[in-house]
């Protein structure tokens, strides 16, 4: 049933094309038919394909569908072909499922937008690119999708292009991603030179024999790929574009900048686990960067006032957890967290969108409060998702985050585990701070906005309810401790077993911790989360005066953190400004205009001067010519007379 795969990918492209070409002339319903129809159908086909996959015996779960030969140059052969295996299957369901829900939500959210069709054209184009990214069966197709989602991200962040902030944020996202792509491209070239192909199956099968465990090539390939991942998935040092990406409409933040696109880096690492397992150095780098990002972004989330910015930093932080999981070899845990995160973070973003919609565009939490009364559906779904992200049992985030922390602990990275646990506590704090500031306490809503404060329409709340449901129960796919209950592990496990490589990994994970220890860790992380929630409750509900005093005392730190540690300013001062200034003042004005063009024009004026001087010989006076004739004759005579003598 492989033929289904290209249909899944092609449907959203067709939707984008139709809406792009004739959407302007269609009614909203017309646009909806093509946009939602194509995504919905794609989702249905995805389920069908997924069921086909499940029907296969676990060790043979691969569906392949080669469409045509894309580039065939010299020894390079790249097909447009799609592959479904458990890993891409999981992402496929998340992307099409959550994607469809967000399409539904957008029909409500974008209701009043003037270029409705354009929004859905981009959104469908995004679905196409994302599906290309996860279903492609070689690195170059992944790169098409990779750049395609980057383009859609650019277009959608800058959707309100008449606002400078939006246009600039879009450009920033694209350029930062390009820095990552620099690594991805070089990584691909090195893969091609090493393996002679870019095809997943061929590369991964050859990896154990071709690469040396810990060798330079393995390390170089994986580090380069990881650089690509840091761009797309907003990790240190390329994370600063994601918070700015919040300039885009909220459904976009939910779909692209939380649930799907930003997890592409994690997908890449999981997909190439056969390569990463050969490079222990890279794995350590990945784990450390992931962990550092998790903590760093979480601290920035502490004091932000903009509801979407808090969520954005939270996304960066959660992505850090996923990378930390990959870095310690816990690919299943990473994929698990991608899934649960897609549910609860999409729900949180859409919930914040519902709030912003109700508040007529206000995003500052200091002007909210007590919204619980006005928008109960939004509140309850938001609360469930917040519990999930904070890691409270039995919500989805508990299971996935706990698996990541357990894997980290078991791999022997105790320091990373401690930092991860601390970041989890901070997460619980800032998320509940957000909930309390927005939905509880006294209303600080401006009278103007108070007027049309309302619960959002069904088209918006239905997706919220579905997502909150998933965020509540999604964790049960990966129940720990009990043998055979971890469905996700059994399903994804075979993807990450790479023959000889597995032996290495197994040797590292030789001792399995006791059940008691695992339970102990679990209780500990629950305790940290609970503490975080209590601190938020204490400062934002019980004793707000104390909070203000504390902030007063710590105003210096508060300011630094609130300004995101001035990372943007540092990047500008170190990279952007010098490059632009040197290009303008040195390269263009001096080297190009004065030096190089000066030489060119100098050559011309040299000859002009020369001829201006030489033309003086042509005076036009007969006496001058006679004189020079005489003079020359004299010279000849002297020469010959001297010569003869």
């Amino acid at each position: 049933m492989g033929y289904l795969l290209w249909v899944i990918v092609a449907l959203p492209l067709a939707g984008a094309f139709i809406n792009g070409v004739i959407g302007r002339k269609m009614s909203r319903n017309g646009v909806n038919i093509f946009a939602l129809g194509s995504t919905g159908l794609s989702f249905i086909f995805a389920i069908d394909a997924f069921l086909d996959l499940l029907a296969l015996p676990p060790e043979h779960r691969v569906l392949d569908n080669t469409v045509y030969s894309w580039i065939s140059a010299g020894a390079l052969n790249v097909d447009v072909g799609f592959m479904l295996d458990p890993l891409s299957g999981l992402w496929l369901l998340v992307v099409t499922g959550v994607g469809f829900l967000i399409h539904v939500y957008s029909t409500g959210y974008m209701e009043h937008d003037k270029s409705y069709w354009r929004f859905f054209c981009y959104l469908n184009l995004f679905m196409f690119s994302m599906l290309m990214l996860i279903l492609g069966n070689n690195f170059l197709l992944m790169f098409i999708g990779w750049e395609g989602v980057g383009l859609c991200s650019y277009l959608l962040i800058g959707y309100d292009y008449h606002r400078d902030a939006a246009a600039t944020a879009g450009k920033k996202a694209f350029v930062m991603n390009r820095i990552g792509d620099f690594g991805f491209l070089l990584g691909m070239m090195l893969i091609y030179v090493t393996f002679g192909t870019l095809d997943y199956q061929a590369v991964f099968n050859a990896a154990p024999a071709t690469l040396h465990y810990g060798g330079t090539v393995a390390t170089a390939i994986t580090l380069l790929l990881f650089l690509g991942a840091t761009g797309k998935s907003a990790q240190i040092p390329l994370f600063t574009w994601l918070p700015d990406a919040m300039e885009g409409p909220t459904p976009v933040s939910a779909l692209i900048h939380a649930a799907t696109m930003v997890t592409a880096g994690v997908y890449m690492l999981c997909r190439s686990s056969a390569l990463f397992d050969m490079a222990p150095t890279t794995m350590t780098v990945v784990a450390v960067i992931g962990c550092a990002t998790a903590l760093f972004a979480a601290t920035i989330g502490l004091f932000q006032k903009d509801i979407k910015r808090v969520l954005a930093y939270s996304t960066v932080s959660q992505l850090g957890y996923m990378f930390m999981a990959c870095g310690v070899g816990g690919y299943v845990a990473a994929a698990f967290h991608v899934m649960t995160h897609a549910f609860f973070k999409a729900c949180l973003f859409l919930g914040s969108g519902s709030v912003i919609h109700a508040m007529s565009g206000e995003q500052n939490m200091e002007k909210m409060g007590d919204l619980k009364r006005h928008m109960p559906k939004t509140y309850w779904t938001f609360l469930i998702s917040t519990l999930a992200i904070s890691g409270i049992v039995p919500f989805a985030g508990f299971f996935s985050k706990d698996e990541i922390l357990a894997d980290t602990f078991n791999s022997g990275h105790t320091v990373l585990w401690i930092i991860g646990a601390i970041a989890a506590g901070i997460t619980a704090f800032y998320m509940f701070r957000l909930v309390f500031m927005t939905f509880h306490g006294e209303s600080r809503v401006e009278p103007e906005a108070m007027h049309h404060l309302h619960e959002s329409p069904d088209s918006m709340t239905t997706p919220l309810i579905v997502l909150a449901g998933l965020a509540a129960v999604g964790g049960f796919l990966g129940v720990p401790l009990i043998e055979g209950w971890n469905v996700l592990h059994n399903f994804l496990g075979p993807v990450f077993e790479h023959g000889a490589v597995a032996a290495h990994a197994a040797a590292e994970h030789a001792e399995h911790p006791s059940v008691m220890l695992e339970v102990g860790l679990m209780i500990l992380s629950l305790g940290v989360a609970a503490a975080g929630i209590y601190v938020a409750y204490y400062f934002y509900i019980l004793n707000t005066k104390k909070r203000d005093e504390l902030y007063e005392k710590l105003s210096g730190i508060h300011k630094v953190i609130y300004n995101k540690y001035y990372i943007d300013e540092i990047y500008d001062a170190v990279f952007t400004h010098p490059i632009v200034n040197v290009s303008r003042e040195m390269l263009h004005k001096v080297i190009d205009v004065i030096v190089i063009d000066g030489c060119v024009n100098g050559t011309a004026s040299f000859f002009a001067t020369l001829s201006a001087w030489a033309k003086r010989i042509q005076t036009g006076f007969v006496r001058d010519y006679a004189f020079s004739m005489l003079f020359a004759t004299l010279l000849f005579v002297i020469y010959y007379v001297m010569g003869l003598s």
């Binding site: 792009g20 045509y68 030969s69 894309w70 580039i71 065939s72 140059a73 010299g74 020894a75 390079l76 170059l140 790169f143 098409i144 990779w146 750049e147 395609g148 383009l151 650019y154 800058g158 292009y161 008449h162 606002r163 400078d164 246009a167 600039t168 450009k171 694209f174 350029v175 390009r178 820095i179 792509d181 620099f182 491209l185 070089l186 070239m189 090195l190 091609y192 030179v193 490059i579 632009v580 040197v582 290009s583 303008r584 390269l587 263009h588 190009d592 190089i596 063009d597 060119v600 011309a604």
Partner: protein, 518 residues
């Protein structure tokens, strides 16, 4: 003798120019339409070349040979292989598009303008088809005159300065090449006893290293000026800024390819050893061109200048890929020549569209156009993306193959070249943002009309090609494959010689390009 396809394709425009002589210059529209029809006819006649072209052989195809001046061994000989086929098609295609695009831009001396364009087309096709050095040189120089007039008569304020600079600069290089051709001719006679200007006879000639070096240098400089390779590029921004849109499109789209074509057809196969020995410094200046071109493009205030400098950067890739001497590198370079012709040609057309409306090209004069001209914004976006080589558009396939080919030859060059990917996005998107996004601040921009049907008619084919080459480039690649492999084989003689060099030498020469980049 079979049907002389190449002669027909080459000379139809010239015949068309003769036809225009008989039309009264007052009938501007008749002249415009006639020129456009001639362009269409020529393009249609060139299409069978693509389908009748036999891939899998490196032989010249559609060959025509007639003695011209027998005592000197000068022949009228034409033929194309997988390298020139697409350049011929690019020329007929772009010219057709250009003829349609000038209808409202030029009001002065329309007849003479169109005659110049048609003569130019004949010369350009001739350059790509000629297999005889004298014939080649004839077309090569013929090309200069109409372009000189296009810039000098129908150009902007500083047109005389720009066109004289363009003419003299190119001419200086050409004279060097002429000398080198004559030396080759004499040398060839000395070796074989036959007087011949047949280009293919010269491929793989054995020459002593010193002669080879100087002849290679003469050819290199001639072509490097034409490309233009950094630091021979300063005529280009001036010429582009002053040229009318049609001139810019043809200049950037086709004429710059003469230089890179010259490398592949002459400089590399005739002097393989010298070419291989020169790889490090040619790659060095190509890399400087890639990065420098991008950085200087970034800070331009005139859109046309920006696109001109971006050409320096893009063609740096083509030169770098060619001199990688790998199948991927050269195939990528040929593809990128086509791609650059399409996307930069399209960019100049786009600049032309806004120039006709506002009569300025300063970025600061615009802003917020996306709101006023939404259709135009879409087209502009697509072309921009093609220029920054987004996968799915034509630019990506060529750029990736070039980088891959360079990577196979020298990892270090590839790493530096790949940084261009980042800068390319920066300058294009920044320009796009300043022109198209934001609020409409300038009163004059508030009521600009969106694209007209005629503008759509010439932009749409460009867009189709952009996606076609991005999504399904194989029909193009398979036609060039045999010729490229043959070229790599012919030039591999030089690689062997290069490898025999003592390793110390190699160590000394490698670091140099780094210095140039810093």
């Amino acid at each position: 003798m079979s049907f002389p396809w190449l002669s027909v394709v080459t000379f139809i425009p010239l015949l068309g120019a003769l036809l225009l002589l008989f039309i009264d210059g007052e009938n501007k529209n008749i002249i415009r339409v006639t020129t456009f029809i001639i362009g269409i006819v020529d393009f249609i006649i060139s299409i069978p070349l693509f389908f009748m072209f036999k891939s899998g052989t490196a032989e010249m195809q559609f060959v025509e040979r007639i003695d011209w001046i027998k005592s000197f061994g000068i022949e009228y000989s034409m033929g194309i292989d997988g390298i020139s086929l697409f350049l011929v098609l690019l020329t007929t295609f772009s010219c057709m598009v250009v003829y349609l695009s000038t209808w409202t831009a030029i009001e002065k001396s329309v007849k003479e303008f169109n005659i110049a364009l048609l003569v130019l087309q004949t010369a350009m096709i001739g350059v790509f088809c000629a297999l005889d050095f004298v014939l080649f040189y004839f077309f090569w120089e013929l090309m200069l005159i109409p372009m000189y007039l296009l810039i000098g008569v129908w150009g902007g304020a500083r047109r005389i300065y720009a066109t004289v600079k363009f003419f003299i600069y190119t001419m200086a290089g050409s004279v060097l090449m002429l000398l080198a051709i004559l030396v080759l001719y004499v040398e060839h006679h000395a070796q074989t006893g036959v007087y011949s200007f047949d280009i293919l006879q010269y491929h793989g000639m054995v020459l002593n290293p010193v002669t080879q070096f100087w002849l290679f240098l003469a050819f290199f400089v001639a072509f490097a000026i034409k490309v233009p390779v950094w630091p021979f590029h300063t005529w280009l921004p001036d010429a582009h800024v002053e040229a009318p849109t049609a001139g810019s499109v043809i200049l950037a789209g086709i004429m710059l390819k003469m230089g890179t074509y010259g490398f592949l057809r002459f400089a590399m196969p005739i002097f393989p050893e010298a070419a291989h020995a020169a790889v490090w410094w040619i790659s060095g200046i190509a890399l400087v061109g890639i990065i420098y071109g991008a950085l200087v493009a970034m800070v331009q205030e005139d859109v046309k200048k920006l696109v001109a400098y971006s050409s320096v950067s893009h063609l740096g890739y083509v030169v770098l890929g060619s001199f990688a001497f790998t199948v991927h590198g050269i195939e990528g370079s040929i593809l990128q020549m086509i791609n650059h012709g399409i996307s930069t040609g399209a960019l100049f057309l786009i600049v032309g569209i806004i120039y006709e409306r506002r009569h300025t090209r300063l970025i600061s004069e615009f802003g917020g156009l996306a709101r006023v001209m939404p259709m135009f914004a879409t087209v502009f976006m697509i072309v921009t993306l093609s220029s920054i080589a987004l996968p799915g558009t034509n630019g990506f396939v060529g750029e990736f193959l070039i980088l891959l080919g360079v990577f196979e030859a020298n990892v270090f060059y590839a790493v530096l070249a790949t940084t261009g990917v980042i800068f390319g996005a920066v300058y294009m998107l920044w320009m796009f943002q300043r022109v198209m996004f934001g609020e409409v601040t300038n009163e004059n921009n508030k009521n600009l009309p969106d694209m007209t049907c005629r503008e759509w008619a010439y932009m749409l084919p460009m867009i189709v090609v952009i996606f076609w080459l991005g999504v399904y480039p194989n029909p193009v690649i398979e036609r060039m494959e045999a010729s490229v492999k043959n070229l790599v084989a012919v030039t591999s003689r030089g690689a062997v010689a290069e490898r025999k060099k003592p390793p110390v030498l190699a160590k000394v020469v490698i670091p140099d390009p780094v210095k140039e980049d810093n």
